[in-house]
């Protein structure tokens, strides 16, 4: 900024303290992610060294106490719940953003936006409780106990919907208004303007929002743990119970020791790499558009 071109006054002691103090804070904040990575790596290392990465995929089952460490069913469950939730939440979230931008009267749009923010603020454990008590009995009419893949997808979709909706809302809102006015002046209908002009112009922002929502779905733990049935099993039917990687950590961390504990850290490392990779890609996509 202008002020950093030093006048004699700005070289005072207080300014130097400020400079060093804030620089230290910034260094500390920046290094926490490294600390997290180092510790996940350090705790997973015994398992990676002894078992190797391949055994997590080739072992027939997950019986950590008798040295069987097949993570594949849980990886598949994480992918299935995430994919399902994103497929459900994306059209609804984009539709909800189009509603606020093109269909709702401004006052209603403001209230509606606040409502979506409220939805985003509900704790995942409360979603889990509602899912367990309300949604599970309804789902059990479809067969099984009601705790299973489909219930998890529904709850998860509801949880990531605000992320898709709010980011798509911002992306649509930043489309230059003279484009929209021009389209309206040439007699196009709201729906045509929204889908033919605004959506293509906002697609990188919307895409980034969907990716953020995907990362959130991968990492979501409590709600999935409560409604997915928590049985280690390949997801073969929509009503069958599954256990995701996150739910596995939450269920077993309390009593795991030695190599079992190390394997849980390996799955944590996998989750972190997947989620952080997606988010950094999304931020890069969004940053690309600004430049």
């Amino acid at each position: 900024m202008i002020l950093s071109r030093s006048s004699t006054l700005s070289r005072s002691l207080a300014d130097r303290c400020l400079r060093w103090g804030t620089a230290t804070a910034a260094m500390l904040s920046g290094s926490i992610v490294l600390l997290v990575i180092v510790f996940l790596w350090k705790e997973s290392w015994p398992a990676l060294k002894e078992l190797g990465l391949v055994r997590f995929f080739t072992d027939a089952s997950w019986h950590p106490l008798s040295d069987r460490f097949g993570l594949l069913p849980m990886i598949a469950a994480t992918l299935a719940t995430t994919l399902g939730a994103v497929l459900v939440a994306t059209p609804l979230g984009i539709g909800s953003a189009i509603f606020t931008q093109f269909y709702a009267p401004p006052r209603l749009a403001r209230w509606y936006r606040r409502l979506i923010e409220l939805l985003a603020g509900i704790p995942s454990v409360v979603y889990g409780l509602w899912g367990l008590v309300v949604l599970v009995p309804i789902m059990s009419h479809l067969g099984g106990t009601g705790q299973g893949l489909l219930t998890a997808i529904c709850v998860l979709a509801l949880m990531i919907l605000p992320t898709v909706s709010l980011t798509a809302d911002v992306a649509l809102g930043s489309v230059p208004s003279n484009w929209l006015q021009g389209a309206a002046a040439s007699g196009l209908r709201p729906w045509t303007i929204a889908t033919q002009v605004a959506l293509p112009a906002a697609r990188s922002g919307i895409g980034a929002g969907v990716m953020l929502a995907t990362a959130r779905a991968i990492g979501e733990t409590m709600a999935v743990l409560m409604v997915a049935g928590n049985v280690v099993k390949m997801p073969t039917s929509l009503s069958g119970p599954v256990r995701t990687l996150t739910a596995n950590i939450a269920s077993e961390m309390g009593y795991a020791s030695s190599s079992h504990r190390a394997v849980l850290f390996v799955s944590g490392l996998l989750l972190m790499v997947a989620a952080a990779g997606i988010v950094l890609l999304a931020e890069w996509l969004r940053g690309d558009r600004h430049e």
Partner: protein
């Protein structure tokens, strides 16, 4: 023309039904929590200790633990994020290598799933630093989680202060520190506070990171070195591990939701105050 209007009415109906569906789902969840929780919430519920594994009694220790965890996490994360944001905005150019590296590492930190923070907190604070299951471990783990969001909000608040304010201050011969303390921070104050309150909301809602760091002991904590169960962990435990605990889980969820609604309203009014303070400059 008629054909056109007909074609337009289908998407209009579809968009309105999506909005109504989402509103109805939110109403369903909130009404369900309020309906089932309300009959169990009383003064006694808020002020007594749990009995019979939580089926009877109240949630006083959980409220105290939750507040202690909040205090620990905010007292670490708030100053750290404020310092980081000031450095990012005032001490380095937006495109500098250091600034970009720190912003990227905070983005990566924001993406870490909360259960992974739980693993990290368990290995680092509980085991390596010997804090065991304690409110301190839980609070410090949460502090790491809150850091990215707090820094980002504070950074945006500082950037929204018009540069003329700072130019005027520099022209008057004030140092950077004086400008920061008396001009920039007071102007950005309400928005920074809104960020902190947003952080409180996140911390209240967090569960997965706390189970294996703060623990799940239901006793009243004597100090931050004791293990303490947060309200969110109590909801989980009542719903999943204690048969017949559902009504207590709902009552606790209602208390938590009411706290979050208060937090939400505070954020909205602080942001309004903040933007008034900046846009009001032309009136004066």
């Amino acid at each position: 023309m008629n054909n056109h209007r007909w074609k337009e009415s289908i998407p209009t109906a579809a968009m309105w039904s999506i909005a109504i569906l989402i509103t109805a789902l939110l109403a369903w969840i909130l009404c369900d929590i309020a309906w089932r929780g309300f009959s169990h919430v009383s003064w006694d519920f808020l002020t007594s200790e749990p009995r019979d594994a939580g089926r009877q009694g109240g949630i006083a220790p959980m409220i105290v633990s939750t507040l202690l965890i909040l205090c620990v996490s905010l007292s670490i994360a708030f100053p750290l994020s404020l310092g980081t944001a000031i450095w990012l905005v005032e001490q380095t150019r937006q495109t500098s290598l250091g600034g970009r590296a720190i912003r990227m590492s905070l983005d990566a930190l924001a993406a870490v799933p909360s259960i992974v923070f739980g693993l990290f907190g368990n290995a680092f604070f509980c085991v390596l630093l010997g804090m065991e299951y304690s409110i301190l471990s839980g609070g410090l783990t949460l502090a790491c989680m809150l850091l990215p969001i707090l820094t980002r909000v504070t950074e945006e608040a500082l950037r929204s202060v018009p540069t003329e304010f700072q130019h005027a201050s520099a022209a008057a011969g004030l140092t950077k520190t004086t400008t920061l303390l008396y001009i920039t921070l007071p102007t950005a104050g309400p928005t920074i506070a809104a960020g902190a309150v947003l952080g409180i909301g996140r911390a209240l809602a967090e569960t997965a990171a706390l189970i294996f760091t703060a623990g799940y002991v239901t006793r009243m904590p004597g100090s931050v070195w004791d293990s303490g169960r947060s309200l969110s962990v109590h909801i989980y435990d009542m719903a999943m591990n204690v048969p017949g605990g559902n009504s207590q889980a709902y009552a606790t969820a209602l208390v938590l939701i009411v706290m979050l609604l208060i937090v939400n309203m505070t954020v909205v009014s602080l942001i309004r105050l903040g933007s008034n303070r900046i846009s009001g400059r032309n009136a004066r």
